[in-house]
């Protein structure tokens, strides 16, 4: 139990307090942060010399203009929501899982490998097989960081970041070498069979069934976190690990399960991208979903349903941003700036809340 104590102490009560402070910041604060970030985004667009109303209307039109555009936004919501829900649950346990990017990549890889190994199987066999292997791969990748933390006390933030780079190079190697489609000039696997594709929900658009998985993950996550013993224990471990140990909670097992769930959901996001969008594994499967998902979790006040809503907003921003780049020539990365500004502003809000509280109220130590 000694290393459990070390791992628990390492998570720190301060972190739990800040997560709690972020959780308390109401929806109005989140909306205010979004508004200020959009204003700064407008200034950046103006700085490039392009018309600000033109750019924003291109953005809104690109994200919601037609059924097809809305479908595109929802498709973009899927990986962000899945990653965001997983990161939220890890945060609640006091863990910094920055490794969703790598977990998503190995998940997508596993899904593509299983999918191409079952070329003639029907969809009812191949899709679950792909999903399960993607989730297992994501959980294993997160498990490396979990075991290193729980056994050896290695800081999970650093190990998960390093594992992201390792996963990227692993995928690059496999797609250029053993898993490469010999008939293609690009580094990608073979096209999967139609049975290995997620069914479309609205014919004629890109909207695939992955959105149902994302909504289910958010709703189930919310229920488990706030209505089940597991969730209560998880939150206790995150808010006060010492108290959790004192109360005899299985802290190590809770931390391990938080890591695993986080990896499972990131792996599932990889599966959705492979089976729902690309139809194969590619090197650029993720334009940073693993990192945006962290911000989605924070904006959603580290609640699963909040993460789903934040993911929809981020999905709209990035789809709209691409449309804006095409239409008026403002770099789409202005959207990234807006996204991360939102979180910094929320931190400022949460921190200001801590500052205003009278001395001694928050201190357990």
């Amino acid at each position: 139990m000694t290393s459990g104590t070390a791992a628990a102490r390492d998570s720190g009560p301060l972190r739990g307090r800040v997560v709690a402070a972020l959780g308390r910041s109401d929806s109005a604060a989140a909306a205010g942060a979004v508004l200020i970030a959009l204003l700064i985004g407008a200034l950046l667009i103006a700085a490039t010399g392009k018309s600000v109303p033109g750019a924003f209307s291109a953005m809104v039109h690109g994200a919601f203009g037609s059924t097809g555009d809305l479908a595109g936004t929802l498709v973009e919501t899927v990986p962000l929501a899945l990653v965001g829900v997983g990161v939220s649950l890890a945060f609640r346990a006091g863990l910094f899982n920055i490794g969703a990017e790598g977990q998503l990549l190995v998940g997508g890889l596993a899904a593509a490998v299983v999918g191409s190994d079952l070329p003639s199987a029907p969809a009812v066999v191949v899709l679950p097989a792909m999903a399960v292997s993607a989730m297992a791969a994501g959980a294993c990748w997160a498990g490396v960081a979990a075991v290193l933390k729980l056994r050896l006390g290695a800081n999970e933030m650093l190990t998960t970041i390093m594992l992201n780079y390792v996963a990227t190079y692993l995928v690059t190697y496999l797609l250029n070498g053993p898993l490469r489609d010999p008939s293609s000039a690009l580094a990608q696997t073979r096209q999967l069979s139609p049975a290995a594709g997620l069914p479309l929900l609205i014919p004629g658009t890109t909207l695939h069934a992955g959105i149902l998985l994302a909504v289910a993950a958010a709703v189930i996550g919310q229920l488990w976190l706030f209505r089940r013993v597991w969730g209560l224990r998880l939150r206790v471990v995150g808010l006060n690990p010492e108290a959790a140990l004192g109360a005899g909670l299985p802290v190590r097992r809770m931390l391990l399960s938080a890591f695993a769930i986080s990896g499972v959901l990131a792996g599932l996001a990889g599966f959705c991208q492979v089976a729902g969008v690309q139809g194969r594994m590619i090197v650029d499967l993720s334009p940073g979903y693993g990192y945006s998902g962290i911000v989605v979790a924070l904006l959603g006040r580290t609640t699963p349903v909040g993460a789903l809503i934040a993911a929809f907003f981020f999905g709209a921003l990035s789809v709209g941003g691409q449309a804006m780049e095409t239409a008026v020539g403002v770099p789409a990365s202005v959207v990234t700036v807006i996204q991360y500004l939102v979180v910094l502003l929320l931190i400022a809000r949460g921190a200001a809340g801590l500052l205003r509280r009278p001395a001694g109220v928050e201190e357990g130590a």
Partner: protein, 313 residues
């Protein structure tokens, strides 16, 4: 073995070791000030990346590497000041603030770079900082290429190791820094300004990480590439922890990482049959191994990451 050491290949290997170690060393040295004063600095990556871009763009547009260097340091200090607002002035969680700031820096540098050079273009090569070899000493085997055939930034980094060690152990400012990291309430009770000291340390850290970023874009390369620091700021953080947050510890750890990186570069050139992707993983895997093997025995300053408010414990 000795023949290899004095051969061109051996000399090149040691020169590369130093070149790859110095950006890490500079950033980690900055971290020493910051973390010994009690502020967790996860923002090194963002400071390095912003500095790399500022240095490259300024050097290209003014034609002067010196102007680029100044702009890079200024960018590093600016990012550090921002981090200071979120971790010292408003005591937010330093890890969340640092990571958000790094991601913000990644987005902003990409935006600025694309806005300046066009959506798909690459920039013109910028002027670079040239090597200033020390005559005579440069032909000493091993030590020559390692120490005396480098750009002046390498000499600055090595001097900064000694200076940091002296400052921390022999000056009253160093004592103040350590007091803020170990027992801020005690420092405060004798009238010392804890949060001002921490903020200043953060700015020093920004300047040093900025120099590291300048090294990446003006010495190791002559062009900015999107996300070109590629996690070096995080590796520097690991080096900081492995080096026990002491200047010479950090020097040893960054040389170890430089050695690993130089080895993988050399292995890529020698057609060893190992796929180059696996060689590129070496620095990251090395970081994981080092944290896993030595991570738990290291002592941290007692008040690291604890925001200081007067009247509260």
């Amino acid at each position: 073995m000795f023949h290899w050491l004095v051969s061109d290949a051996g000399q090149g290997f040691f020169a590369a070791t130093m070149r790859l170690a110095v950006p890490l060393l500079l950033a980690a040295l900055g971290g020493v000030y910051c973390e010994r004063s009690g502020v967790v600095n996860v923002g090194l990556e963002g400071m390095m990346l912003s500095a790399a871009l500022a240095a490259s763009l300024t050097a290209t547009s003014t034609g002067s590497a010196a102007a680029g260097l100044l702009a890079g340091v200024a960018a590093g200090v600016l990012v550090a000041a921002l981090l200071g607002v979120f971790t010292v002035v408003l005591p937010g969680d330093p890890v969340i603030a640092g990571i958000s700031l790094n991601l913000l820096a990644a987005g902003t540098t990409t935006f600025v770079f694309r806005a300046v050079v066009g959506t798909a273009g690459t920039s013109r090569p910028s002027p670079v900082i040239d090597a200033t070899p020390v005559p005579g000493l440069r032909s000493v085997p091993v030590l020559g290429p390692l120490l005396f055939d480098q750009t002046f930034l390498v000499y600055v980094a090595l001097a900064a190791v000694i200076a940091t060690s002296v400052i921390l152990r022999r000056t009253s400012w160093g004592l103040l820094i350590r007091a803020c990291g170990e027992h801020p309430a005690a420092a405060d009770s004798v009238g010392l300004d804890v949060n001002r000291t921490r903020f200043v340390c953060l700015l020093v850290s920004g300047a040093l990480a900025g120099l590291g970023g300048v090294f990446v874009s003006l010495v190791s390369s002559s062009q900015f590439v999107e996300n070109m620091t590629a996690g070096r700021g995080y590796i520097a953080l690991a080096i900081l922890i492995l080096g026990h947050r002491t200047p010479f510890g950090v020097l040893a750890a960054s040389l170890l990482f430089g050695l690993g990186d130089a080895f993988q570069l050399r292995a890529q050139l020698s057609y060893s049959g190992v796929p180059f992707e696996f060689l590129l993983m070496i620095p990251y895997v090395l970081t994981i191994l080092m944290i896993a093997l030595f991570g738990r025995w290291l002592r941290t300053p007692a008040a690291l990451g604890v925001p200081f408010r007067r009247g509260r414990k």
